[in-house]
Symmetry: C2
DNA sequence: TGATAAATGTACTGATTAGTTCAATCGGTC
DNA sequence: GACCGATTGAACTAATCAGTACATTTATCA
């Protein structure tokens, strides 16, 4: 009760400590996410990550092997999250146009609320998705959103509301493009056009324009 | 006439050399563009750039001061190019819907044909547009495209073709989002959905969907 | 309780990397 | 043809950084 009580919580235990593999792992992953999202893979520093951790650099290598292993683990975690978001979508009960609107809005909102994911995907694209390729967990766990989109689209075509001949995947990609852009290009757009896409007002506009664009593209 | 004739053009002059400031500058910028586009700012190596140059590392620092100065110069060059593309647009003679289609298509094509620019903008966004901010040349030389868009949009509204109340800038951003995505996210989409957005077929589809989305969003 | 494996801390190292030093050479000019 | 600023080359350096060696502590279980 002499020293431990005054420890800044989460940092610097010395004489005695208790094992907590899962906690250490989580802690490292959290810090690493912030650093990779902020600085990219090559910009992030293992020493900086370690310093912001409750543990030491040693542990990073113990659990994740090397810097890229850590990066991959962060990436996988983020894809896990969005996959579970996609699985949570349940739009079968709604009429086609409404379902498609809700799908676009939910996707839009997800990206606004998860800028870290958007930035990580950007970083990964700069690296030509090399680490995505290397990850068994992620590869080929793909199409849940596309299936949702296909379902809605086909109902819409059957109901005579949507024009036929479109690829569901293309529809998904259009929604994705319009959703991601607000986050991914916020900085350059902000600078070049002196316009912040992420104020509540701007977001409301861009959100409704996204829905309008998607539905406009589908209607016959 | 003894040595110079057999020099691999652009590399390794030694005993004697001829001054060519502009050539050296251009050469460095070209190589640097490739490297920054491929590896990002922190991923690019000054030594690698120098090695691929017809000149030496010394010259990089002589002309550009430091790594960031070189990066900024590359960035500025790319924005110069797209600004001149934007100025070249002349759509006033066309009826509003056709003009808007052509604008969307031209923007789409520009990004497909200039993946380096798209990637550089991505990199810059990862850095929160810090270098764009620092560049006098680029800052505030903005809105030419938006002016073009506004012109077309207002003609369309006046003609009763487009619904009113939209922001021209938002229309520009929608076109931009749909155009950039194909290049910027080619790698991750390719991996996650096992789909190459940049085959001729895929591009044709995405191009026409982009036009459909933009017009669909504008029509009343 | 003692042996063993898992988890952790401390201190170090070899390589890489941005940036520099110093001097040589070129292209004009007077 | 000598002088001077602009341009260039080759080798060097100080700092940074990913990764490691080695020792120590904790938990588990027989």
């Amino acid at each position: 009760m002499t020293k431990p009580a005054e420890m800044p919580p989460g940092k610097r235990r010395q004489a005695s400590w208790t094992q907590d593999p899962e906690g250490v792992r989580r802690n490292i992953l959290e810090v690493a996410r912030e650093e990779f999202v902020e600085n990219g893979l090559s910009g992030a520093r293992v020493d900086d990550i370690a310093a912001k951790t409750a543990t030491s650099k040693r542990m990073i290598y113990y659990y994740f092997g090397d810097k890229e292993g850590l990066y991959r683990a962060v990436l996988e975690g983020m894809y896990d999250r969005i996959r579970s978001f996609e699985r949570s979508l349940d739009l079968d009960a709604l009429p086609p146009e409404e379902a498609m609107s809700k799908l676009a809005e939910a996707t839009f909102d997800y990206h606004i609320e998860n800028p870290d994911f958007v930035r990580m995907v950007m970083v990964e694209n700069v690296h030509h998705a090399r680490h995505l390729k290397a990850s068994r967990t992620i590869a080929r766990l793909n199409s849940s959103v596309v299936d949702v989109t296909r379902g809605i689209y086909e109902r819409g075509v059957a109901a005579g509301l949507f024009r036929s001949g479109l690829e569901p995947l293309d529809i998904s990609l259009t929604i994705s493009a319009l959703s991601i852009y607000n986050v991914s290009h916020r900085a350059t757009v902000g600078q070049v056009f002196d316009y912040d896409m992420c104020t509540p007002d701007a977001l409301a506009r861009r959100r409704s324009m996204t829905v309008a664009a998607v539905l406009g593209m589908l209607r016959r």
